[in-house]
Amino acid sequence: MSLLKLQQIQKTFNEGTPDEKVALGNINLHLKPGDFVTIIGSNGAGKSTMMNMISGALTPDYGRISIDGKDVTALPEFKRSQYIGRVFQDPMAGTAPSMTIEENIALAYSRNKPRGLRMGVTKKRRDIFRTALERLHLNLENRLGAKVGLLSGGERQALSLLMATFTQPSILLLDEHTAALDPSRATLITQLTKELVAQDQLTTLMVTHNMQQALDLGNRLIMMDKGQIILEVEEQRKPHLTIPDLMAEFEAIRGEKMNSDRALLG
């Protein structure tokens, strides 16, 4: 059984104008529960557009999306996000800066329950939040009352990741979530991603421009180009894959060299 199914997803921006742009050609993708798929591809390949389709931030022109056998194609973003955790590229995007760390986690805590007039932060909840924060090893558990706007980019991204995974969503979407961080912070967030995903065996899609990261993480890999999935690497083959393999595959499919400067450095 597939947990996430994308069937013939198509999306064209600015249709019928000179700016017309086919962002997604015809995407088909099936994920089993527990799959961790890394996604690579050049700028403008349609990676973010695909993530936005899954989260419901965008609706496809054509095609069907289902989660756990349920058709969610027409479900608005806020309803779908009960099952979907997201971390964005921008460290500012995943948290509320003028609210405190504990209030932010409380927002994540209420993701899959109706929000009512109970206190967002109680003594009992605070203990749960503190235990969760300890796993980040950033000493945030002792700064529960600090405003999130005061945290560094890396700290905010770690918090975003914790919040996105807090209620064990069915699907976790990560869109270049380490790209805006310096190398040491990026390594930390990558490590955390590994731990948090493994701990709850979250079904995950991760976009990255760092090929090494794409090879190191996850059990499957897909490569996108010009709105198409041009390569799918399955579980058996992924552990043996190397960067030169990927470059060769791209050349064989597209008949041109991969523009690899950004991809390699990531």
């Binding site: 806020f78 779908r80 009960q82 929000r115 007039l117 109970r118 967002g120």
Partner: protein, 340 residues
């Protein structure tokens, strides 16, 4: 002088309820809601109309809150479902309410549908009811003799209105503080802070915006209802410039007490509203300003309050840059010395 200040504190505490409403939209929701000028009058008109028709003033005031709540919700609907920008949604609602307010007050007339004002002279209001009970306590007499003893010549007739205002503002403040810490309250704050983020945590931001605007305008209408009762009249023009007054209160309060926590900020807004009234009253009392100048002064206060922080930021930035440049220069000079 003392009586003037007393009077403006009395009014300021009631206007503080309105300022808290403005705080909810402008600051918490980050939604510049101009409905306020209309919903303030809606509160006043609804309460005055019902009181004149013989309803209990408490019931009349509660219905006034509800009317303001509905008005705010409609502004929210215009913005979220109609995709109309926040400023325009508020302006449209404000204009619409002008006509609606005339109609509301018109309910008191038999031969006409619209009415521009309702006097509340010989009817029971919340304030007159409390004043009657308060009078038996003998507190006023005690305070008066104490103040006379201290050498004040003119003293306020009664402290009951101030008492009513204080009780209500304390209840409202505690309510707002509590609400903004509930799950729904947190979600409303997050909507004002980072809408995209809170949507990714399954919050219906449209509904939260509508609710926030409803609550805000409910408070504004409550202030209108109380002002009508304490001043013994409702008038269709009494809301003009209310939004700027509210904003001035919020800005003054925040400048004095800061925004460290919610509880502190709501207190700041209340104090800001009172200070605003007092300053205004003193400016008028001093004689070179006419009561017609009030709106102009208010606008100037808000303009200064908006521009001053920017200028301070720029000044600090320039100083920081100059300091860094100086540091770099000394470093270069030291480096040069070492080389030499």
């Amino acid at each position: 002088m003392f009586v003037t200040i007393f009077g403006s504190v009395e009014q300021g505490i009631i206007y503080a309820i309105m300022a808290l409403g403005v705080y909810l939209t402008f600051r918490v929701l980050d939604f510049p809601d101009l409905t306020v000028d209309g919903s303030f009058v809606t509160g006043a008109a609804t309460a005055a109309m019902m009181i004149v028709l013989g309803y209990n003033p408490v019931i009349a005031t509660l219905v006034a809150i509800l009317a303001g709540f509905v008005a705010g919700c409609i502004t929210g609907l215009l913005h979220t479902k109609g995709n109309i920008n926040p400023l325009l949604s508020g302006i449209l609602m404000m204009i619409a309410l002008y006509s609606i307010n005339l109609r509301i007050m018109g309910f008191t007339l038999e031969n006409s549908v619209g009415r521009p004002n309702i006097p509340l002279l010989n009817v029971d209001t919340i304030f007159s009811t409390v004043a009657a009970w308060w009078g038996n306590l003998g507190i006023d007499a005690a305070i008066t003799s104490a103040l006379m003893g201290l050498g004040f010549e003119k003293v306020p007739k009664t402290w009951s209105a101030l008492f009513v205002g204080l009780v209500i503002i304390i209840i409202i403040k505690l309510f707002v503080d509590w609400f903004l810490k509930t799950e729904v309250g947190l979600a409303i704050r997050a909507t004002g802070d980072n809408q995209r983020m809170i949507r990714s945590f399954s919050a219906n931001t449209d509904r939260l915006i509508i609710l926030g605007l409803g609550l805000s305008n409910g408070l504004v209408a409550l202030a209108g209802a109380l002002i009508a009762q304490v001043n013994k009249a409702a008038d269709v023009t009494m809301g003009v410039g209310m939004i700027v007054t509210g904003l001035a209160s919020v800005i003054i309060g925040e400048a004095i007490l800061g925004t460290k926590t919610i509880m502190r900020t709501t207190l700041a807004v209340i104090i800001g509203a009172v200070i605003y009234r007092v300053v205004l009253a003193l400016a008028l009392k001093s004689g070179f300003l006419d009561s017609g100048d009030m709106k102009l002064i208010t606008a100037v206060i808000v303009i200064i309050a908006l521009i001053l922080p920017q200028m301070i930021d720029k000044y600090k930035e320039r100083k920081r840059k100059a300091k860094r440049l100086a540091e770099m220069r000394t470093k270069v000079e030291q480096g040069g010395n070492e080389l030499a």
